[in-house]
Symmetry: C2
């Protein structure tokens, strides 16, 4: 099946696609805020109806104990390969709202960009594939390959319910490769494929002091302040050079060859670029590594937030009862999130002064992931990029985590193609997130090309029929 | 003038006094929350009307750029001494509200205690004197001495506008001694006079990192996190033993004689008692000093609060843009708050890593204060306590600051009698603040006795007439 008619359809329907994406972005489907649960469900229903509408089949809103998973497939290309397309329709909170130029859930076009929470991460990127599928289905009533789409609503909170669902529904999800667009390119004309993701682990450290708030005059100097104790614990987790001091932290970190590091130096962003993208005055971190290496092949411990005592306007002379810090470990091969969590809990317990109590909660362990750059599914993406963006991709490592990549590898035994369409300045997870609209349209073309090429490059799955039956009986 | 009729009146009007105090406590006159400004003004008007109603004269609500000051006097006792009674009608916020058993601004009697924000600090204590004055005025239409009352609405935020008003209205406020009840006794039957107050200085340290919130996966390890940098700055302000490490901090701290320290050991609370009152498992702080000494003759640096990044429910993998800590220095003779502020600003600027920016704001400098234990006004308080509580007071140092004490000393040249009626477990500045009602009634008796005795023990002021005229022309 040649992609020409699909490409033509995509070209003539850009404004329709854009207004549909804006509709999708209007749902404040924030997974980390329980009060948004109804919005998340409404967003899932909208997405499912949309997939049905464009001609996908077996559309299901699979309930979980958390947010629902939206599934759809089209498996009529007998003896053709099957690609599992993953995306997530949940987003981060819009807060701090005051820093947005336009409200996060009022999609707004400014210049070449569409501004909204989720515009790039990940609704916009997910939607590129949906529109590519629509372009085939509308023009040919068929797809060049078999496709299964799985769009979750909990990526930003650790894919808590998707990961076990994948493990329990291996047959239903059987495919030859997974395709995810939730990463970024190097620059507008320079596509990139992410072949490595850091793993992660979230942790909360809580320090408790007095049983009740105390007057800081009456008791100041005689009582260990929990805010101070927490600061001392946090401060002790790095040395002056920026190394993590948690004992055993670097034990299992894989050392990479000079050849790999030279490749990274050639293809990856420069220190100057990372500093600029980070809107900071200078870089920081572990000596002996470039900033790109520090964010990809080296692990990190980052503070996401801290709070304790009186931090509102005005003054309140108190010794607080407690203080809490939230932090994320970013882990690399061959670190094990569970082991790091254990080391961390033990270490904090050991260094907590006896005059206060501490508690560590760890959650969302995610294994680091690596993808073979030479797998046919990955090379097909290179071809598709060349068609869609006019350039072959570079292969980049990514500092973040997409929990599902590891699950696809471990549970389904398939590689994941991380074909990103975001840009470094898309401000994902930050105020004024945007998606570059030229990338939106080129990404749809790229996806159209990918589906066409995969028909030739991927080995066809022989068990489509069986999977088809299993799709009716999701084990959630 | 014998106090017997006033005492009799006070005894028979206890339930009336109590219900009036509850009315007073219902105003959420929180000075540190700008949104409470109208409540603060309503509380001032209620108090002024009340003073008028009981027979005080020259009642004024003196406007300031902040909260109004309520003034009233009664100066018809020719050739008798004048006592300046100070109190504050502003209170701290009720937050955290969830920790209150009954709402902070719904005064509630439980057992022998009246629970409400401000019950002890300071509305309840202030009201003891008001009711003592009423007891005389209702029964004798006169007072044994001349009295000036000045009740401010900004004590909890540093008495910003009262202090300059005192300096500008020295003649109007002329008196022989000042009387303040805003401190605590040692135990229900053991009255105490505070003869020393620590000074203070508030500070806010803000650390700014990236210009926008960053994805902690993408940038974690390459950017100095402002929460981490703030924690490192805060952690570096104490050594492991609990000494403050700010260079020069202890330079001007007065060393006390063995005799004075022995007196303190005899009269002051034990370590065990302070640990119990603080609801902690163990004490902490500067080696070589008892907990009582650490909170009175030794300075301290206490963290009041900290905030930065995402600290709400759920997770958000960000590198925050900024983090702020609020802290209070508690200072002792002969430390100068302005000098400490300068040392602190310079020190933080020096230790801030170059990868982030820091800013220090200092506010509310308060000089430490000392009162002569042998002044007749102080000894009169001993007599009054004996009459009201059946015991002579011990002389205690206090760890907190009442900014006005120093101003009375410096601007008016008069000693301040700190005749406290609070108890160590009154939970001032904390949830479930209370006032012990037996203390309320005994304190009114004590004030009645004080006014009667002061007529004999204090030297009469010869300039009452002139002050009377000046009271009409407040320079606010």
């Amino acid at each position: 099946m040649e992609p020409s008619r699909a490409l033509q359809y995509a070209r003539t329907n850009r404004s329709k696609f854009l207004s549909e994406l804006k509709e999708f972005l209007r749902f404040p489907s924030v997974s980390s805020q329980p009060e948004r649960a109804a919005d998340v469900r409404r967003c899932a229903r909208w997405l499912a109806r949309h997939l049905q509408h464009i001609g996908l089949e077996r559309v299901r809103i699979i309930p979980t104990r958390g947010n629902p998973i939206v599934y759809a497939s089209r498996q009529r290309a007998r003896n053709r390969p099957t690609v599992l397309i993953y995306g997530h329709y949940d987003v981060l909170p819009g807060e701090p709202l005051s820093q947005w130029h336009t409200p996060p859930f009022t999609p707004t076009i400014r210049g070449p960009d569409l501004h909204a929470r989720g515009a790039a991460d990940d609704k916009g990127q997910l939607f590129c594939h949906v529109k590519a599928l629509e372009s085939y289905l509308h023009t040919s009533r068929a797809l060049p390959i078999n496709v299964k789409c799985i769009f979750e609503g909990e990526e930003e909170i650790g894919s808590t319910h998707l990961l076990p669902l994948i493990a329990r529904n291996k047959d239903a999800l059987r495919a030859d490769a997974a395709l995810i667009s939730d990463t970024k390119m190097l620059a507008p004309g320079r596509p990139a494929i992410s072949y490595a993701q850091r793993g992660g682990l979230r942790a909360e450290v809580e320090v408790r002091g007095p049983g009740q708030e105390l007057h800081s005059g009456t008791f100041g100097g005689a009582v260990l302040n929990p805010v101070q104790a927490l600061c001392e614990i946090i401060a002790s987790l790095h040395d002056e050079q920026g190394r993590v001091t948690l004992p055993g932290f670097y034990d299992d970190v894989r050392e990479w060859s000079e050849k790999e590091r030279a490749y990274m130096a050639r293809t990856g962003p420069s220190d100057e670029k990372i500093v600029r993208d980070a809107t900071v005055g200078q870089g920081w971190g572990e000596p002996g590594y470039t900033l790109y290496e520090r964010t990809t092949i080296r692990p990190a411990l980052t503070l996401n937030g801290i709070a304790g005592g009186h931090y509102g306007p005005g003054v309140k002379g108190v010794i607080p009862t407690r203080a809490v810090a939230k932090l994320s470990f970013r882990l690399v091969p061959d670190q094990d999130p569970e082991r790091i969590g254990k080391l961390f809990r033990e270490h904090v317990a050991r260094i907590t002064p006896s005059a206060v109590e501490s508690q560590v909660r760890t959650l969302s362990p995610i294994q680091p992931a690596l993808v073979d750059r030479d797998h046919p599914a990955v090379r097909t993406a290179g071809f598709a990029y060349k068609k869609g963006f006019g350039a072959f991709p570079v292969f980049l490592r990514s500092g973040g985590s997409i929990p599902v990549v590891n699950a696809f590898q471990e549970a389904l035994g398939i590689p994941t193609v991380l074909m990103g369409f975001g840009l470094p300045d898309d401000r994902i997870h930050a105020p004024n997130e945007k998606f570059h609209l030229p990338n939106f349209y080129r990404a749809i073309d790229t996806s159209i090309w990918y589906l066409a090429a995969a028909a030739r490059t991927l080995r066809g799955s022989s068990r489509v029929g069986r999977a088809d039956r299993l799709e009716r009986e999701w084990s959630a």
